[in-house]
Symmetry: D2
Subunit: 131 residues, 4 copies
């Protein structure tokens, strides 16, 4: 399961008065890279929803090592690091373009639920898509 | 149609690296005061949606005179300044608590549409509620 | 170290197309309750910064049990659950007003650093303030 | 002064429970395209700040014609539509990739101020850069 990378530019609206990216915004970056992960494999999270399934986040975490700043081009790497019958774990790494130093790492755990909100086994084609 | 005021505390996440509230976030504050406007009159925007109607923003503007900063308590005043058959205009003023100086003013124009997205006359009880 | 609670209203801008509060926004709520924690003890995070210190987040996590929705009044509880020489851990609980069910829980770990970004012992008065 | 276009992907965090991009978030998109405008001309807003100048927004507006949705690739066009001694006006258009229909248009007016917050004439090289 090779990781997928997405590039993004830090805007003013992502920073806070400390002059760095506000801690909550990394979770937005994680989501962007997660959706690119689906696309890079020929699918889309939209397809998941069209089948009546959702993958809400049940756990999210981030460890911040060094700050990102306004105008930085960030590279966000996403990969699936665990898949169970009805859940998926994504892991993330954020660094600056052309710079190997990791700025932060994170994880999100997603449950697979149906329209009624019940835990549901991940359909086989989605398992295949992601792995 | 007397205005309604709501108080809120500026968080770090609302500021940017200039040390002031990011310009887009005032539109979030406007929304907060708008929803309080409904509630202060004994209704709720949720009720509007339960009837199959929506009031999406079709025009929004803000004039910024002085910045708000981290930890400021802001007072956001909302009032209905125009109501037509199928649209409502809200106007806003933002100032700091205990300070008469206006930090910014804004307006939002809302169309009344039904579930199919068609312009629809504002129901009489909603007109009454807001005026 | 008794916890501090803050109330807030969920706005449209906090929700996503699943109809629930977007996962990253809970970290904004955590920050709001964290700053109230300082104030409820007679201090302010602004005072910390005036002394040339900062408390950036080095770890953040959230476990989501049940969703919050538009127009909900949320109660966010913050408390200091650990204090070391140069770091503080806050823990959070979010529930709806008048409802004991926990919607989510979270933690943030903060380093104490000086203007040069070096880890610095928490000054005694701040330790006293928070405990 | 030829316009500059930037592409971006709508994430879940940009949408609201109406299933469309939240109205305030277009102002974030405007900022992204504005900063690309500087870069496309060989400069950067960072350079402006390094010279002790800032270009805060003093007026912002947006007209919404049709909604953008989750996973849409948006094309945001920015151009300078007026330049005075100490102010610049940017205009924006947002549409979907591969679709000529305009989703929304907007404007931002920026004052040029120095570190003391005083209105200041735009330096000649910045005028040249932008025009």
């Amino acid at each position: 399961m090779s990781p997928v990378e997405v590039r993004l530019r830090v805007i003013y609206g992502d920073t806070d008065q400390m002059g760095v990216v506000y801690y909550a915004n990394y979770f937005r970056y994680f989501e962007l890279s997660r959706s690119e992960y689906f696309r890079a494999r020929g699918g889309s999270y939209v397809d998941v929803e069209k089948r009546g399934l959702m993958l809400p986040v049940v756990d999210a975490s981030c460890s911040y090592r060094a700050p990102a700043r306004y105008d930085d081009v960030l590279v966000v790497k996403a990969e699936v690091t665990r898949m169970k019958r009805a859940s998926i774990e994504f892991s993330y790494e954020v660094r600056k373009d052309q710079d190997p130093a990791i700025l932060c790492t994170g994880k999100t755990l997603h449950a697979c639920i149906n329209r009624e909100g019940r835990p549901t086994a991940l359909p086989e084609d989605i398992v295949k898509l992601l792995s």
